[in-house]
């Protein structure tokens, strides 16, 4: 093949790239996610330092201690956060920690209910409501809720979510403020969430408890400055959830890996979609550079 013919062919290929209808890219992206789901592709996960730090922070809490888990997200972020919330509750229950569930987001209470129904009750039937766990539910007020919890928990939550007065709940007997908890975990999609727990919870009682967070990818940039001093551990998006699930599964295997394993399932499509994106970025740059007029203005 002559040089001229090769150049013509390359121009033809570059021409196809530059004129490519973007809907083909949408289709390719859709397939790159759909096919791994249908084929149930799973890849090994190697836990990173932040997932390990989160795991270790929970491991460091003495057995039988009370912790607070705040569900600060709604169904719009559940794809990223529900896997880590499920793994977190399973991990804490496996360590026999007593859990108090709260929510700074209105629909966080429903997410906590869902986690109780799908993780706590089937995997840990020995857990009794009011004794081993309490669902306090949502309270309006954003960071104001945390401020008041730091000084007077019964005033902020006179009842649990089912309407039972908290003085009738053995788990919350004698609990006056956040100082009663050994650890606070916020599964957070934005404001109010993990950042507020650091500012108003940890800020008010720096030495009383550890704070760990699970965060969406979009929000995690705001939380990274607090790690590791003010936040002992962070689970970063679905990747963090998958790493954390791996650590939890290794030590505390769950009876049903479809519940404590959603993060790892979603990492299959992630890998293929990311490879596609990298390929498309390279192709796009090749097309742009090859399409520049030689010797012309740039």
């Amino acid at each position: 093949m002559t040089n001229e013919a090769q150049t013509t062919k390359a121009r033809g290929f570059i021409g196809v790239l530059t004129r490519l209808d973007r809907r083909w890219i949408f289709l390719a992206m859709g397939l790159s996610i759909a096919v791994p789901i249908l084929l149930k592709l799973r890849f090994p996960e190697y836990p990173g330092p932040m997932a390990k730090a989160t795991f270790n922070a929970i491991e460091a809490v003495p057995e039988g201690s009370t912790i607070l888990i705040s569900f600060d997200y709604d169904p719009a972020s559940a794809a990223e956060l529900q896997p880590m919330a499920s793994a977190l509750v399973h991990h804490c229950a496996s360590r026999r920690l007593k859990m108090v569930f709260t929510a700074l987001w209105p629909l966080g209470k429903q997410q906590a209910d869902r986690t109780i129904e799908t993780v706590l009750k089937p995997f840990h039937p020995e857990y009794k409501e009011g004794v081993d766990y309490v669902q306090l539910g949502f309270q309006a007020g954003n960071e104001g809720v945390i401020k008041l919890l730091a000084t007077n928990l019964p005033k902020q939550y006179p009842n649990d979510a089912s309407g039972e007065a908290i003085e009738n709940l053995p788990l919350l007997e004698g609990v006056e403020d956040l100082g009663a908890f050994k650890l606070i975990a916020s599964v957070s999609a934005g404001y109010p969430g993990a950042k507020e727990w650091v500012l108003y919870g940890n800020g008010a009682m720096p030495d009383a408890f550890s704070v760990v967070a699970g965060s969406t990818g979009v929000q995690v940039g705001q939380l990274l400055p607090y790690y590791p001093q003010q936040l002992e551990g962070i689970l970063v998006a679905v990747k963090g959830a998958a790493e954390y699930e791996t650590l939890v599964e290794e030590k505390y295997p769950a009876p049903d890996s479809t519940v404590i394993g959603q993060g790892r399932v979603r990492m299959g499509p992630q890998l293929v979609a990311h490879l596609l994106m990298i390929g498309l970025i390279i192709l796009g740059n090749v097309a742009m550079i090859a399409g520049r007029p030689r010797g012309g203005a740039r």
Binding site: F26, L38, G163, V198
Partner: protein, 292 residues
């Protein structure tokens, strides 16, 4: 058929458009899969358990959710009426949901329950706790009631300045709440966290109980990158000095740090969006079609 000039013409009815055919085909495919699934379950006598337990309303809900998902996805092909319908339903339902939720989670327990606890307990919230200080609660709840009314004055044709006062109070209270914690957690604690050792060591204890200190290469790299990154980015935002010479080069380095940060943030955002799409596909394949 011939026209007046004697030329042969075809039927002038508009031909069905390609994308209409595409959507009809996709819908037919979806329905076929579901029919096949039900038929297969009935044939094997395995229709009990999961299939039978699924109520009619659950099925309707799954179908509505699936069709809405496909309707929103259809925008990727082309803007179309189905997408517009799905988008409008989403916005309308969200707005209505939030309004109702705010009423029942904020106004009823935080305001009406304090203004008239007996009425609320009898008709709305039987589990409402009996307050030890009902008169004080009543008087205190008048403050948000009045301020709320003043805020709504914004909608009145006259006297809109009245709404400025509650807004001023909201801003003042928020600033007051945040300033101390921001100073402690976002300022002082962050400065302390930046003061990292540039040469880091790790320590361990050997079998004889003697402490051994060893050079921590990656800890040192992390410390240097952290300190250099903070200083160079701060230099970039130092606008009172012209960015020339050493200051200019440091600011240039700061730009690199910022760009890497933005790249990382964008990558994390992409990861989040891919997860959302994966979850929707999981729903379509598992809940709706039952094929994964």
């Amino acid at each position: 058929m011939n026209d007046q000039a004697g030329n042969e013409t075809t039927d002038r009815r508009p031909a069905p458009r390609r994308h209409t055919l595409l959507w009809i085909s996709l819908a037919a495919l979806g329905v076929s899969i579901c029919v096949l699934r039900v038929a297969a379950a009935a044939q094997t006598g395995d229709a009990s358990a999961a299939e039978a337990a699924r109520s009619l309303w659950q099925t309707v809900g799954i179908w509505v959710a699936a069709l809405m998902t496909l309707g929103i996805f259809s925008f990727l092909f082309k803007d179309n009426p189905l997408y517009k319908v799905c988008e409008s339903i989403l916005i309308g339902v969200s707005a209505a949901y939030w309004m109702v939720y705010a009423f029942w989670s904020t106004l009823v327990p935080q305001l009406f329950a304090k203004l008239s606890p007996t009425l609320v307990r009898e008709h709305v919230m039987p589990s409402l706790a009996i307050s030890a200080t009902p008169t004080q609660d009543f008087l205190l709840s008048l403050v948000p009631l009045v301020l709320g009314g003043m805020l709504l004055w914004r909608l009145a044709p006259k006297g809109q300045w009245i709404s400025v006062w509650p807004i001023a109070m909201i801003i003042g209270v928020t600033a007051g709440l945040r300033i101390t914690s921001a100073l402690e957690s976002d300022f002082l604690a962050q400065i302390a966290a930046t003061m990292k050792p540039l040469v880091a060591f790790t320590s361990s204890v050997d079998a004889a109980g003697v402490e051994i200190r060893s050079f921590d290469f990656w800890g040192s790299v992390s410390g240097v990158v952290g300190v250099v990154g903070v200083l160079s980015v701060l230099t970039y935002f130092l606008f009172s000095v012209e960015h020339k010479g050493a200051v200019g080069k440091t600011a240039r380095l700061g730009i690199w740090f910022l760009m890497i940060t933005f790249g990382g943030a964008f990558g994390l955002t992409v990861m989040g969006r891919i997860t959302l799409l994966a979850q929707r596909f999981e729903f379509l394949f598992r809940e709706w079609l039952g094929i994964a």
